[in-house]
Symmetry: C2
Subunit: 234 residues, 2 copies
Amino acid sequence: MGVPGESKQFKAGSTLPKLNDKGLTVFSMRFCPYAERVRLLLNVKHVPYEVVNIDLKSKPEWFLERNPLGKVPAIEEPGKKPLFESLVLAEYLDEQYPGSRQVVPKDAYEKARQKVLIEVLAQKVTVPFYGAFLRNEYDALSAALDDVEKQFLGSKFFAGDNQGYVDLMVWPWFERLPALASLSEGAFDFSSARYPKLVAWSEALLSDPDIKATTYSKELFAQFIKGRDGDAGL
Amino acid sequence: MGVPGESKQFKAGSTLPKLNDKGLTVFSMRFCPYAERVRLLLNVKHVPYEVVNIDLKSKPEWFLERNPLGKVPAIEEPGKKPLFESLVLAEYLDEQYPGSRQVVPKDAYEKARQKVLIEVLAQKVTVPFYGAFLRNEYDALSAALDDVEKQFLGSKFFAGDNQGYVDLMVWPWFERLPALASLSEGAFDFSSARYPKLVAWSEALLSDPDIKATTYSKELFAQFIKGRDGDAGL
């Protein structure tokens, strides 16, 4: 297959495709930030995997058998039952597939500290993010980002001086902000004038070639946001 | 102090009490099932800790400084910043404080499998649980428990033949079911006739003296549910 994750979506009534019999299959949706957490982790570790995209508006029966919660990401490995939940998968995959680097901190306290920060940032940003994404409500998102900029980005990265687990796990939501801004008709400003630290952080992450390679253009994200079509641009 | 967790709640305007300078302080609320996850894990491992109870309807300012999400459980250790989120804490404490037994599985796949099951059971049961707890709506809870009984309890414990991490982490919600049933005026039946496997599982967990020792009576839970008062019975 070509770029991982670039295949069309499977829908209700479809037949289960042949899964990767040599390693990992990732059930994903190209624009789902939770699924991106897992693809991003595997990409920065240079761990190979195959992707099966799921139409979240018309889920295949064989997918619901794999994940009773019906959500992506999920994974399957030969001879093992499927697993799901993005953060459970991230920790599992980091441990099970060492690849070229370890992402989750080895030290118990530092690991817990970053996991707490992932939850705080997720809860602060996710709710207003979907207000902007689904209902064009931008004020709560702008205020949440002011708070994140001021209170939680005390160093170059959320993890500290170097990029870490927390940065990868929260990146998918921040990655989509330029597309949201482009659709907001001026109501939402994600510029370095307004958010100097967050924009510098975004640029620092995008200077990592593995992260850059998994990032869609602002235009493609905007196309998805307008149409809610996971096959957008294919 | 006496039985861990039996002290009165601290409210807004209170002064920070002296924290445990030799080890763990757990910020809790006696009847909070999330906080109970952490106390239960520490109890079965025989790890000592001190408890500071928080009035969740009138949170002390010093607590909100520790956890910007304002939730219990949270922990603090001398010289370290506080941590929170029940499942993050459970994994951290199991690793950092070995105590008399390991609770979280060592094997990466088995650990992930149990973490997935915790999420599935939490999502299936938690939402209808609060419908029953807050609004006396019992039908959705009964149906969810039918599903859990039939689909997810294929062995004596959720973890398998032996009690495991998933059992401890979901127990607090099930522990409260007899109290909910006693208040339901017949609308909710948590008997072995209706749920033979779940009731047998509850009895098996309660035969563990460490779990039994942290369990409140049906009457005390019912008193809390009626008054929503974390100091109930003190």
